[in-house]
């Protein structure tokens, strides 16, 4: 089917995919900037963020234009609503990537506080959630969407654990406060990324099943034992 309006719907989907790809890349670069202590990567992440911001605006413009001219119903109507929400969540994930890059740049000016283990681990889970949230949108895979939501608790749990450890470190050695706070901010940013991925997964579920599963806490998996 290649009718004019179907092409417009495809253009919205493709712009979302492009946005998802760029956001995924920026998040990966931000984490590399932290782990590899590379300031140039921090600059790249900041520069790329503008492009993602522009794509968010572009998606909203396409959605408004389609709604105004086509009066979409049923799955097309749901696509309009979810496209706008998904692009907003992707833009916020990109903002979190920028935040990670900025904090990484500050951390790079001082010696490493401690070996980075938990933060890259939670970032790995969050990156996989992001990748899968785009995949479930493309593949219309609602089962995968549910799986993504269940992973959010793992990230929350590592974030809490990281905060506890860093708080203890700050009490023990006040000279580490600046670095510890930067790491805490990064952990929190990754935790927010996972939240946004969960939001995207919920939107994908609504898009393809027509059922609203937001705020259904039974879908979130049990917190893994520490």
């Amino acid at each position: 089917m290649s009718q004019f309006w179907e092409q417009q719907l495809n253009a919205i989907r493709e712009t979302l995919l492009m946005m998802g790809g760029l956001t995924e890349r920026n998040l990966a670069l931000a984490m590399r900037a932290l782990v590899e202590r590379d300031d140039k990567l921090c600059d790249t992440v900041e520069a790329e963020d503008t492009q993602i911001d522009q794509l968010e605006i572009q998606v909203d413009e396409m959605v408004v234009s389609y709604m105004a001219t086509h009066g979409p119903v049923a799955k097309d109507c749901r696509l309009m609503l979810t496209a706008s929400k998904i692009s907003n969540n992707l833009e916020r994930i990109a903002d979190q990537a920028t935040k990670i890059a900025r904090r990484a740049r500050e951390l790079n000016t001082e010696p490493l506080l401690k070996p980075l283990i938990d933060i890259p681990l939670m970032a790995e889970i969050a990156q996989e959630m992001l990748r899968d949230s785009i995949t479930c949108f493309v593949d219309q895979n609602v089962e995968l969407a549910i799986e993504i939501i269940a992973r959010d608790k793992s990230v929350d749990s590592i974030n809490k654990q990281t905060h506890r450890e860093l708080t203890a470190q700050m009490i023990e050695e006040p000279g580490t406060i600046t670095r510890a706070l930067n790491l805490m901010t990064i952990a929190k940013a990754i935790e927010r990324v996972a939240d946004h991925c969960t939001n995207i997964a919920e939107e994908v579920f609504y898009l393809y099943k027509g059922e609203d599963i937001r705020h259904d806490h039974t879908l979130k998996g049990p917190a893994p034992s520490a």
Binding site: M1, W5, G71, V73, A74, K75, G210
Partner: protein
């Protein structure tokens, strides 16, 4: 045997604001007011409807949608047995309105049509004055009392949201009205007899957006008193105006549900493909 309400017994509503009448005394709407029971309809050898089975609620707007030739207008015209006028038609199954079969041998078809008003795609005012158009059915029924006729004319035109526009020229020709006004005049004429059901066959297809908006507003207000069944090709209109929507395809009822459900998350793929414009 249960019978439909005699129009004469409903006479007070002619002169009373429909809203004022309904609020204190109206019984609960019957959710099974029109029952279409395993209904099939044939034009000669051609089967137009295949075992259609659903129930239309009282005092709500039910939209019949579907591509051309799907049988929606055929069904609508069977609600007042207009198709009886065509040679070689036959049916199986039944249509029951307010407890009485439309095919009850004791039912007088003329009386039935008084109780079920109809508005057509193209406005069709009689070449008479605005006033005479509205009171025409009452005059035919033998009503001669001038006061009663005046009251019915005013109330019907008010109910059709036309009174303010025509009250100073009631005796001018109806043919001088705009298209939108003519259609609302036809609605006023259709409700002058206070029918139980109002059938509308694409009532806005020949109207501009302003006139369409007025008729849709009118449909919304009329459902307080009348059970309305509307055939429309305009998906947006079905979404805006109706409480329930029935989707027909190739003479079969594919899906019948609340309009909100049909237009946000229909259960059947065919329904979704049609309302999103992917086929039909």
């Amino acid at each position: 045997m249960p019978t439909m309400t005699d129009p004469a017994s409903r006479e007070p509503s002619r002169v009373t604001s429909s809203a004022a009448l309904m609020e204190p005394t109206a019984p609960e709407p019957n959710p099974h007011f029109i029952q279409v029971r395993d209904y099939s309809f044939f034009y000669g050898k051609t089967q137009a409807l295949h075992g259609v089975d659903f129930q239309i609620p009282e005092r709500q707007v039910t939209a019949l949608i579907g591509p051309s030739g799907c049988g929606k207008s055929t069904l609508l015209r069977n609600f007042n047995r207009m198709n009886d006028l065509i040679d070689g038609v036959r049916h199986t199954g039944d249509i029951v309105v307010n407890g009485q079969s439309l095919y009850d041998p004791d039912l007088e078809v003329i009386a039935l049509r008084k109780r079920i008003g109809m508005v057509f795609q193209k406005s069709n005012p009689f070449p008479k004055s605005i006033y005479e158009n509205v009171v025409y059915a009452l005059r035919m029924a033998g009503q001669k009392d001038r006061k009663t006729l005046d009251e019915v004319a005013e109330q019907s035109l008010r109910d059709a949201a036309l009174w303010d526009e025509v009250k100073d020229r009631l005796h001018a020709s109806a043919l001088g009205l705009s298209g939108g006004q003519q259609q609302r005049l036809c609605i006023a004429r259709a409700i002058a007899n206070r029918p139980e059901i109002l059938l509308m066959d694409e009532p806005c297809s020949a109207l501009d957006p302003i006139a369409t908006g007025k008729v849709e507003e009118l449909i919304h207000s009329l459902k307080k008193e009348f059970t309305i069944v509307i055939v429309t090709h305009n998906m947006q209109q079905a979404g805006r105006c109706s409480d329930k929507t029935a989707f027909f395809y190739l003479g079969k009822l594919i899906e019948f549900d609340k309009t909100e459900k049909i237009f946000t998350n229909p259960a059947q793929k065919q329904t979704e493909e049609y309302i999103t414009g992917r086929f039909g």
